[in-house]
């Protein structure tokens, strides 16, 4: 493996992922907190890609299946998908809530998957290290807020348990959606941003080697010119 030469890993030092102590990787376990030591998160890219794919697949049932089934004596049986809920809030004039739900349950999962794809590409091609590291921090933080729709379902089901006026049941979509959120959270967590810096250093070395080769080729030509 090629590590970024300024990194701890290039010198055989690993940062403990739970307590942050820097230790020789040959120690295998952190002497302070006994967590296993790795130079980079093991199989980071494979895990991230697999979990993201899982999330993308689950995203379909999460949006197509109802998250909530409402039966009331006044309005009859209703099924709500996530987007349907947003539309309902919008029509009722609750623009702020519609916006919150739309951002939390539609925008964030999509943006998060796109961000993870961008991060994986950056870890392959080594570009925009600074911006990508910042993107990683945001992605890692923001994912939890998508869970808000699942909690709404849980609260509605929990509170409306009296029969008569209406009954509320959870739908399969809620389960799928919770799966999407958990999978994207795990995907973001298993990504290792240090790979981006490794790739950047690798690209730099490659560009440097190319320049050297070019200057080697130019010099003999220049010499022959001066002879003529």
């Amino acid at each position: 493996m090629n590590f970024d030469p300024a990194s701890a890993a290039a010198r055989g030092l690993a940062r403990c992922h739970s307590c942050g102590r820097v230790e020789l990787v040959s120690a295998e376990h952190c002497p302070r907190c006994h967590a296993p030591l790795h130079l980079r998160k093991p199989h980071s890219l494979q895990r991230t890609i697999a979990l993201t794919l899982g999330a993308v697949i689950l995203y379909l049932p999460a949006n197509l299946l109802p998250v909530l089934r409402v039966e009331s004596t006044l309005k009859g049986a209703q099924q709500n998908t996530i987007l349907g809920g947003v539309v309902q809030f919008w029509q009722n004039g609750d623009y702020l809530v519609a916006l919150i739900i739309f951002i939390a349950s539609v925008m964030i999962p999509i943006l998060k998957v796109l961000a993870i794809v961008a991060l994986c590409l950056a870890a392959r091609f080594g570009c925009w290290q600074r911006a990508m590291t910042r993107l990683y921090r945001v992605t890692d933080y923001i994912g939890r807020w998508s869970m808000v729709d699942v909690f709404v379902v849980a609260i509605l089901v929990g509170v409306v348990q009296l029969g008569g006026v209406m009954t509320i049941n959870a739908g399969e979509g809620a389960l799928a959606f919770a799966g999407v959120v958990v999978l994207t959270m795990l995907a973001a967590h298993s990504f290792d941003p240090r790979l981006i810096w490794d790739a950047a250093a690798r690209e730099q070395r490659k560009a440097f080697a190319k320049n050297e080769r070019r200057s080697d080729q130019v010099t003999p030509g220049a010499a022959s010119l001066s002879h003529a």
């Binding site: 030469p5 940062r15 290290q129 709404v152 849980a154 240090r194 810096w197």
Partner: protein
């Protein structure tokens, strides 16, 4: 604070010896290697390469965090003991406890979903509060209890899955959702829960992970 100068030209095969207490510091996000700088209280160290905050020193953080976590524990017990929401419709009333969000899903046959909600709103915060108390209270007298160093790892994990603040947003949204059909009133628990979120967030920002680990390592077992 300097990047270890020689890092830039040493090749990957060179190794360094690490003394017992490691003088090195590595950025979690870009793995740049530094010699650990000495800083004053209220100062923070930021990675010059990727601007990640590496560590900071906060005056009296153990006392402050212990007090806040203690308050959070108190509010968490309150939040579980009293009704969270009360629904009134058609002269009928029903109370929901905090755990009602879980048991409702369970009764509906969604036990997987119920487990998830239970982890995010009940298990993770209680593990977080319990481990923080276990670690912080003895640290007030510079002591550490057995297994404290192992348990401290759980803080990291529980913090990630603790979604109490998201749950609060969920409560507000469902208030509006049911607003047209029935009247929902907020119970004692709701306010305790809100206070819990404030205390826990304040406690977690008061704690600097790296400083906590250093303190814990230096404490008498």
């Amino acid at each position: 604070m300097h990047l270890l100068d020689e890092c830039w030209y040493l090749n990957a095969s060179s190794r360094v010896e690490v003394p017992v207490s490691s003088p090195y510091l590595a950025c979690p996000n870009c793995d740049a290697l530094f010699l650990e700088p000495v800083i004053q209280e209220r100062e923070r160290v930021i990675c010059p390469r990727c601007t990640t905050k590496l560590f900071s020193r906060r005056p009296n953080f153990v006392h402050r965090a212990a007090a806040l976590v203690f308050a959070a524990a108190f509010f968490f017990i309150l939040a579980n003991a009293f009704p969270f929401l009360t629904l009134r419709a058609d002269y009928r009333e029903s109370d929901m406890l905090l755990a009602g969000a879980v048991s409702g899903l369970q009764a509906d046959g969604f036990s997987a979903l119920a487990t998830m909600v239970a982890i995010f709103t009940l298990a993770a915060p209680s593990v977080l509060i319990a481990t923080l108390l276990y670690v912080l209270l003895p640290l007030l007298r510079d002591r550490r209890l057995p297994w404290a160093l192992h348990l401290c790892r759980a803080i990291h994990e529980a913090r990630r899955w603790n979604m109490v603040e998201v749950f609060l947003l969920g409560v507000l949204v469902s208030l509006l959702k049911l607003g047209s059909v029935a009247t929902l009133t907020l119970g004692t628990s709701f306010w305790a829960f809100a206070a819990l979120i404030v205390c826990l967030a304040a406690a977690l920002t008061a704690i600097d992970q790296a400083e906590l680990w250093d303190k814990l390592e230096a404490a008498r077992p």
